[in-house]
């Protein structure tokens, strides 16, 4: 391997790593706040990319229908679980967020799609369509189980993953598609050709990570979410509503997933089920970060991306296997050195 190839692989690895980082910090956030290992995080990535692809072709994507379906399920779930203390406030909230919002987005998408308004409009629409799915999924599948063990929540997460894959096939079909790059510019840096897309991925990821850090470090809402992960009982005792915290973390996760999807869309052909593999690689990074440390997770995600690039150069048939093998030494090391904590609830 010469320097040019190495630099090329490095660039490739860093770009993939940046996307894994966004997905991985979403996994860490969701786990910290709700103890859910959110297997279906990758689905947001795939659905966002497919949404943008459809919009680019001037076709109305099926995403709003999926959103409406989830909204109806969330509304039913809410009404069933809170049947005895159903207040007008709750009914209005259900009507607005679960039904009116998806319908409004559906009409908006139908109206805007044929107009081909351009990349920025497509991206914003995709983010608006994907983000509300997070809290809806939380309310359908995880809120009723909020006090269950991590294992039960993990099983529920797998259930949601398989359901979403099925729904993805129904709503988006089996064809894969890619999206146009965020920037078609390119420039050379010595031997290395740097594409505008790579720069865009890095800039967007960096900006999001900084915003993420500011949100959790400076705002009371961010601190409240951290409090939920720091001490669940303490958070309940000061009156932080765990349901709202859970929904909020899922909304952030869906938002990060949507942005990741927009960033990977131009890098690969995305199918309805492509998200799982992305999520799994991000999960490797999240595990290396111990499911607690955001900075370590980001570094690990960049490492996973770079390792994947190297493995695809040396042994492309085995690249996935080799990437997932990375987790074994980490788990072995953690099982030796990290103390075992009995689950406290």
């Amino acid at each position: 391997m010469d320097t040019t190839i190495f630099l090329f692989l490095l660039q490739d690895g860093v770009i993939n790593g940046a996307v894994y980082a966004l997905v991985a910090i979403a996994l860490v956030l969701v786990f910290a706040v709700t103890r859910v290992i959110f297997v279906p995080q990758g689905e947001f990535v795939a659905f966002a990319a497919l949404t943008v692809a459809a919009l680019e072709n001037g076709v109305a994507p099926s995403t709003p229908w999926l959103l409406l379906a989830l909204g109806i399920l969330a509304a039913i779930s809410d009404i069933v679980w809170h049947f005895r203390d159903l207040t007008w406030k709750r009914i209005v909230r259900i009507a607005l967020l679960d039904l009116a919002l998806p319908v409004a987005l559906l009409l908006l998408t139908q109206a805007l799609a044929p107009m081909k308004l351009g990349q920025l409009a497509n991206i914003l629409l995709a983010i608006a369509l994907i983000t509300p799915m997070g809290p809806m999924i939380y309310r359908i599948a995880f809120e009723p189980l909020a006090h269950s063990s991590v294992l039960v929540l993990l099983m529920a997460a797998f259930g949601v993953h398989f359901s979403l894959i099925g729904l993805g096939l129904v709503f988006f079909g089996p064809e894969g598609s890619g999206t146009t790059p965020l920037s078609s510019a390119s420039f050379s840096l010595g031997d290395l050709v740097v594409t505008g897309q790579s720069v865009a991925v890095l800039v967007v990821t960096a900006v999001l990570l900084v915003l993420f850090a500011l949100f959790f470090g400076r705002t009371l809402l961010g601190k409240a979410l951290r409090a939920c992960s720091s001490n669940r009982i303490g958070a309940r005792l000061v009156g932080i509503p765990t349901s709202v915290a859970g929904q909020f973390s899922f909304a952030i996760a869906a938002l990060l997933g949507a942005v990741s999807g927009i960033l990977v869309g131009p890098l690969m052909t995305v199918f309805y089920d492509s998200g799982f593999l992305i999520g799994l690689k991000a999960f490797v990074a999240a595990i290396i970060g111990g499911l607690v440390s955001y900075p370590l997770t980001v570094i690990a995600a960049l490492g996973v991306g770079f390792a994947e690039a190297l493995f695809s150069f040396w042994a492309s048939n085995f690249k996935e296997v080799l990437v997932f093998t990375l987790i074994i030494p980490v788990l072995a090391w953690r099982s030796i050195y990290a103390p075992y904590h009995e689950e406290s609830e």
Binding site: K223, A224, N231, G234, A235, V238
Partner: protein, 241 residues
């Protein structure tokens, strides 16, 4: 006579099939410091956790003239019921100041900042350590932080679970001094203690809990004269705390 602030009647709490609190009835009047004393394992913590909504319970709990037995924990906090748990349950990886601010999360920003200053005035030690991580505080400071965090929510009734547990006698004295100050400032307090001697010295009314049931109640001086209770809980000839 006005209705009590907290009126608990025939409260039963069970873990699975094992009932550990049996038909407990207690009252806390506005502005009073009421204590529930009893040996380790008598069900005192279970009682408080049930009152707070951390555990399900059977029986009636009336707080500020409203039944709250079926109300969620968050709603109880909003109505002014606050618990300082035995294990403190602080946000260990966050600074003292953030722990306090989160205690007032349901209040407006102005109110929160104002209360923060009041809490700092009450606990000057916390002000000195405002940037220190809660997990690095000493036991007494943690207890103060847990109390300060609860006060940030402007509780109508502050429930404390064994605030003296594991603390040096001098610190215990400070904590109980603060409790009497709080009572003087109008906060009603329900204090659960194993340290019966200390609790009886500050309380207005006392309940004795044994094996999950209230066996005796009365003014602290009556309880302190009950020879059986003195032997069981107060020890003979002991000094004050």
């Amino acid at each position: 006579m006005t209705a009590p602030l907290l009126d608990v009647r025939d409260l039963c709490v069970a873990y699975g099939r094992a009932e550990v609190v049996h038909n407990v009835s207690i009252k806390v009047t506005q502005g009073a410091l009421v204590t529930v004393i009893g040996a380790n394992g008598a069900g005192k913590t279970t009682l408080l956790n049930a009152l707070m909504g951390l555990l399900n319970a059977r029986g009636s709990i009336t707080f500020r003239d409203k039944p709250v037995a079926a109300v969620s924990l968050e709603a109880r906090v909003q109505q002014g019921l606050c618990l300082v748990p035995e294990r403190r349950e602080l946000f260990a990886d966050m600074p003292v100041e953030d722990n306090l601010l989160l205690g007032g999360i349901r209040r407006s920003r102005a109110e929160r900042n104002q209360t923060l200053e009041q809490v700092f005035a009450q606990f000057p030690r916390l002000k000195e350590r405002r940037q220190q991580l809660a997990g690095t505080l000493s036991g007494g400071e943690r207890q103060m932080l847990a109390m300060g965090r609860a006060l940030m929510a402007h509780p109508r009734l502050l429930m404390l679970d064994e605030p003296s547990l594991g603390l040096a006698p001098r610190i215990v004295r400070d904590i109980f001094q603060i409790l009497t100050e709080l009572r003087a400032s109008g906060v009603s307090i329900l204090l659960v203690e194993q340290n019966a001697r200390a609790a009886l010295q500050v309380a207005d009314y006392a309940y004795v809990m044994e094996l999950g049931a209230i066996t005796t109640e009365g003014s602290p001086s009556e309880i302190a004269q009950d020879s059986r209770l003195v032997e069981s809980y107060l020890g003979l000839g002991g000094n004050d705390y």
